[in-house]
Subunit: 492 residues, 2 copies
Amino acid sequence: MAKELTSRNEDYSAWYNELVKKADLAEHSDVKGCMVIKPYGYSIWEKMQQALDKMFKDTGHSNAYFPLFVPKHLFEAEEQNAEGFAKECAIVTHYRLKADPQNKGKLIVDPDAQLDEELVVRPTSEAIIWSTYKKWIQSYRDLPILVNQWANVVRWEMRTRLFLRTTEFLWQEGHTAHATANEAVKETTQMLDVYAEFAENFMALPVVKGRKSEGEKFPGAIDTYCIEAMMQDGKALQAGTSHFLGQNFAKAFNVQFTNRDGKLDYVWGTSWGVSTRLMGALIMAHSDDDGLVLPPKLAPIHVVIVPIFKTEDELNKISDKVQEISSELRKQGYTVKFDNRDTHKPGFKFAEWELKGVPVRLAIGPRDMENGTVEVARRDTKEKQVMKLDEVAAQIPKLLDDIQSNIYQRALKFKGEVTTQVDTYADFKKVLDEKGGFISAHWDGTKETEAAIKEETKATIRCIPLDAKEEAGVCMYSGKPSTRRVLFARAY
Amino acid sequence: MAKELTSRNEDYSAWYNELVKKADLAEHSDVKGCMVIKPYGYSIWEKMQQALDKMFKDTGHSNAYFPLFVPKHLFEAEEQNAEGFAKECAIVTHYRLKADPQNKGKLIVDPDAQLDEELVVRPTSEAIIWSTYKKWIQSYRDLPILVNQWANVVRWEMRTRLFLRTTEFLWQEGHTAHATANEAVKETTQMLDVYAEFAENFMALPVVKGRKSEGEKFPGAIDTYCIEAMMQDGKALQAGTSHFLGQNFAKAFNVQFTNRDGKLDYVWGTSWGVSTRLMGALIMAHSDDDGLVLPPKLAPIHVVIVPIFKTEDELNKISDKVQEISSELRKQGYTVKFDNRDTHKPGFKFAEWELKGVPVRLAIGPRDMENGTVEVARRDTKEKQVMKLDEVAAQIPKLLDDIQSNIYQRALKFKGEVTTQVDTYADFKKVLDEKGGFISAHWDGTKETEAAIKEETKATIRCIPLDAKEEAGVCMYSGKPSTRRVLFARAY
Ligand SMILES: [Zn+2]
Ligand SMILES: [Zn+2]
């Protein structure tokens, strides 16, 4: 089973596509560009949702729900945002089908049911939400509004990849409204920190926090902050964004409030989101040629137990012991799967659970039962050790913590190794082609240089790292002066 | 605040609409027929979701996600289903907007971006899911498939009411596939039982379990089971449905499997769902002229504490005591709100939290602090009692249980009182107009009679109760023989 995976070295892209399908995470649907998220994949997404949702609530946010459709006149209101998404929108124009008179059993769009105003299927919800906030906000006492929405959005994509770029995807979008610019900026960076903490603590994914260049920022934002992660093939992946919207949407939708001094002012806004794209990042950052490697904190199954048996009697004895161990682990909040199928051999099961990334596998045979031992294999390093049956349940929590931390450390080390500082454009291109990864270089700050580098090398400015030091230098491309290095990479 | 609510007697419908808005549950959006679910309303929906999701998982189901869009050729495949939903579908015909050459800053649908095949925004997902199951199922070993999806769906409605009937709504839809008819029927009734249990235990809503008549069943189903609840105005509300699909969708999508005997057969299916309509049922079943009455198990806030104070010193002393009480309650899993705003008077706060249905309110003033007492008011009966400050945290769990149970008993008593057995059509019409409620009567089992009664009285057959006794009788309308009574009502 696992043997059938193309290796990462051979073809990283094929490896990813095969892994997503074979590990039962997702598949293409009959709808162009839209995916089906299968139960195993969805259960990982649910774990992500739970962790993030708790972090949002701990920082004072509530969930709400806004319409899927955005009437065209609202969609148009914030010009940059409209321009940014107009080219990739699904448009509802009719509200009824009728029987096809030419073709029994078939349906056609009813021309009499055309909408007066077309509806855009939301590619993002700033427009519909700010048109609602207008009704909610009169005074500074109505602020801040700290709302999040878990929803599906649609951006028409011509070239799609499971999780990474799909026409419909699932996400959360926070939309907050504030009385001052300062408070909105603080919210923007707070949520960036939440995303970074989630990526590192739950996904075991080290990220760089930074600000986007003018050319890469969200249409309609003043500033876009992001977390950027590094995949095993040396390409970067934007894992989350947090936008300071200034008063742009408040002005577009005329959302004003009476401030503490009794004067009318426009409301300050933020928005921030992560999506099912995180699933792609999780898979690509940690997995290997045998399949998924999941950090325990997001693994739907923590421990799989495979019995080695020939007779039913042997299986029964093993099962009794497994019940004990499972029940001890479940009491501590872990999910345990006992794979007692008699239709498959242990070797097949080992490969299947490796493919699915279960962090810890126990194998117990009759010899183990006699000796009071169990073979414990960890997915991340493939190391095996023998533990005492009576101690294994007590030792697994520590082992899972070790795995979580090892996966993170391994990714952190890799990210360090593929981050290179360069000072000339020749070196830049050489590193990009031979090694990939993040390249830290001086840039003159202009759109023209950014565009030229992208055109020539397909590398983009991933971000201006928040911890970038002030440092006098010259742009590697134009030779013009620069005050800090930015991070380039080819990216997903 | 609460005073502004129209009373139920005066105008039940106005009372409902006002309550939904004033209690911050939901509001109309700028999109025709679509609602905004506000944070307070959404937090009740989240509690419903959590409870239901656990029940689904405890009965072996997993969540997954399928596309929002259904290509027309798939939508057409199951004829009855297609016919049932064709008249109320949102249709996507284009995938791009472009700048309006006549009108700077405005956008128009790009005629060059017309889809080859129109996409239907899912009104329900049988079509897209069964076209997927075709890929998942080859053998009986692949069965059962027990999948649920939490999603938004769209049914174009001309006349909408918040929560009760909206063009877009949120729901869960279970879709299962089985090797035998028997197993599928068992799944159908199991999920009906889950819904009934949820309604009664969490929503405090007594329901009648039954089967729909041919005229009222889900398009594409063999049998539709439902739970029916009774609202305070004597109208019924369908609160959940569970469909035995037979092999209809398997045949429409050619989903066959090799059974244990090595023979090819079509797969048996079920689907079942509840939606944000449950919010409407919850509100209408229990609330009163002062606002919401929420069963504690679904209340976002269990206890609100209102300090009565004149000086800051008084507030500080009360706050210290409130901290203690709150922390004890939070440890036990309850949500406590301390309303220490100095911008509003206690009377205003009392009315506001009554409007929002918080089950228990504590009021503490300086006199209470001296006496070591606290005033405890329960929302359901409006009764007040004095408790000892040191005992209140220990007594509240019991009080909340009492409230949960009292709300249920009250609704159960009401349902009993407004359920009437009649034997003549004259009595039927009289009871319907003068008293409303459920009317248990004999019916000849024909579509014609059902339609005539509906036409003449606006009452529909809510269900054939599962516990209906075999009883010889004659149809109150046609005089033809009947073997059991069915339940009629006017309904939402
Ligand atoms: Zn097709
Ligand atoms: Zn408008």
